[in-house]
Amino acid sequence: MDKREPLLVVDKLVQHFPVSRNYTVKAVNGVSFNIYPGETYGLVGESGSGKTTIGRSIIRLYDPTSGTITFDGDVISGGMDNNTRNKLRRDMQMIFQDPMASLNPRKKVESIIGEGLDIHHRFSSEAERNEMISAMLKKVGLSSEHAARYPHQFSGGQRQRVGIARALIMNPKLIIADECISALDVSIQAQVVNLMKDIQEDTGCAYLFIAHDLSMVKYISDRIGVLHLGYMVETGTTEEIFNNPIHPYTKSLLSAIPQPNPVLEKQRTSITYDYKSSGIDYASGTEHLVDGSHMVLATDDEFAAWTK
């Protein structure tokens, strides 16, 4: 097992949204995982599996129903004192899915990127602030003239770069990237993913990479968690998950990835997985260790049957 101190520990996170007196959306039901400094953890699952909710609960856009989240030694899941809150807001940043919707259209790029600096008083003079902003723009592959422009004057890929610059300027330890490349064109996706990898090498930040595109997740992540209906059904290193999937849901997910190889692709059919008819009850499953860091959610009988 890993001896390093984890940067983020999520322990039995539960996030419910009461809709009315007798109906509650149970988005996340007891999910646990760790993220170590400088690594990329990929969260995959279909829409409605709770992957975005987990990201938003961690950065405290939601108040978790129960469970604890520990970030860099501090518990951040309950009430926080001012110090902890400031630290959280500084060291954890988020990149959103839609770069058009997540940038304020009435602000110049300079104010968008500089907002965190202003709030946390991270500069001693105006000149230093401008210096930091233009250095950040260069880092994400834009030029310092772009600082005076508005978001609508950029293309989709450039806008996502602005979103990345805004997250990076605080020198965060953890960046939550929520489907940050799904809204981009294929050729632009590769550019943004390369940029994210370069930045990780430079600054040593960790990513929580939330996505539904499995080939991209496999490419960028060190470890992966597979979510379904608010349960973490399987987690492990990328190799463990892709080479030896245990849970039937993971298997069906992997079998559905389209491959750019027409001869093979035409012969292949995807494996069907239907939770209702599968007879699996996630709530009664417990975590079973396969080997290394590879965990599967299953009851004892299921685990025995799947690993046969």
């Binding site: 064109d185 590769a190 991209m216 750019p260 190889n261």
Partner: protein, 360 residues
């Protein structure tokens, strides 16, 4: 109609849009052929003109569009069994709506939530086209609608008929959209990013469903997509579009195992397959051109690390690689310097050729 007859033939299509900023030359000479029972995919980034081409074929072009030149010949069998060929661009909007949309050419759109009417039960939406285009009465249409729902794999069809779109899951909604498209027995189905809004597991199911139905009913299908994985699963022919032009066209195996255009190389390498473990993904630098300014020479030249001097002056014509495979790049000219595709991609194609047992 026999298999193999050309049913759609787009010749030299050229379309521009009037906007406040000036005229945008969105389609710059597109040629495309589709034969009965076959599947053609049009691949390209947003803004490459792939959707506009198909909108022209269905008469759904926006009001500010002008067709500068070209023809879209559509061949079908009329009620007497005669083969008729018409130019779809010459038809009036009314004629198009009444006689072609739905009846001959049907379309499946990207987002099933926005293409279905939230205020109507799905039964009404499926029957609408049938009551319009055929002389079926309500009972017959109802029976046929149930039959269609069964065909697209919706269980409990009878009960589902009364449902509204919001009561169905994303995959179910897209199945309903496909059922609506099939309602009046079209010959040609155009799928505009049919699975982009869906999850991978459901995407695979929907693609398999369309393939199944195509085989059963002998439909011709056009896919518009940017996802090469989807293309690999469904298509017989592939057309790669860039900046309003088709830049490479060929059989699916030719495009995937032996691509010749640098842009196709870029597209293929930008998408990691499950074996990719290179430190960096190959990416195409820059972004697609703004067609407000007519590109001089080859539109791809500014992003192309293989560009030659001539690329900036004259747009390349199509060079023939095989009877079915053509690519518009000067690199294929006999006088061009010898160039190789990026090494990572070469290794990958080698591997996938081996896995597939393909010898081209």
């Amino acid at each position: 109609m026999e298999k193999g007859t050309t049913i759609l033939d787009i010749n030299n299509l050229d379309i521009s849009f009037r906007t406040n900023a000036g005229s945008i030359h969105a389609i710059r000479g597109v040629n495309l052929k589709l034969r009965k029972g076959e599947t053609v995919a049009i691949v390209g980034e947003s803004g490459s003109g792939k959707s506009v081409t198909m909108k022209a074929a269905t008469g759904l072009l926006d009001g500010n569009a002008t067709v500068n030149s070209g023809e879209i010949l559509y061949t079908y069998e009329d009620e007497q069994g005669n083969m008729v060929t018409t130019d779809l661009l010459k038809l009036s909007k009314k004629d198009m709506r009444r006689n072609f949309n739905g009846r001959h050419i049907a379309m499946v759109f990207q987002d099933p939530m926005t293409s279905l009417d939230p205020t109507m039960p799905i039964s009404k939406q499926i029957m609408e086209g049938m009551l319009m285009h055929t002389d079926m009465n309500k009972e017959q249409a109802h029976a046929r609608a149930i039959e269609l729902l069964n065909l697209v794999g919706i269980t409990d069809a009878e009960k589902r008929m009364k449902n509204y779109p919001h009561q169905l899951s994303g995959g179910m909604r897209q199945r309903v959209v496909i059922a609506i498209a099939l309602a009046s027995n079209p010959d040609l189905l155009i799928c505009d990013e049919p699975t982009t809004a869906l999850d991978v597991t459901i995407q695979a199911k929907i693609l398999e469903l369309i393939k199944d139905i195509q085989a059963k009913l002998g439909l011709s299908v056009i896919y518009i997509t940017h996802d090469l994985g989807v293309v690999a699963k469904v298509a017989d022919y592939v057309n790669v579009m860039y900046a309003g032009r088709i830049i490479e066209t060929g059989l699916i195996n030719e495009i995937f195992y032996d691509p010749r255009h640098p842009y196709t190389w870029g597209l293929l390498s930008a998408m990691p397959d499950l074996e990719t473990d290179d430190a960096r993904l190959y990416s195409i630098p820059g972004s697609p051109p703004n067609l407000l300014h007519e590109p001089k020479g080859d539109a791809f030249a500014p992003r192309n690390s293989y560009a030659l001097v001539i690329d900036e002056k004259v747009a390349p014509p199509f060079f023939k690689i095989s009877d079915t495979h053509y690519a518009a790049t000067w690199l294929l000219h006999p006088d061009a310097p010898k160039t190789e595709m990026p090494a990572e991609l070469k290794a990958r194609l080698e591997r996938s050729r081996k896995e597939a047992g393909y010898h081209g």
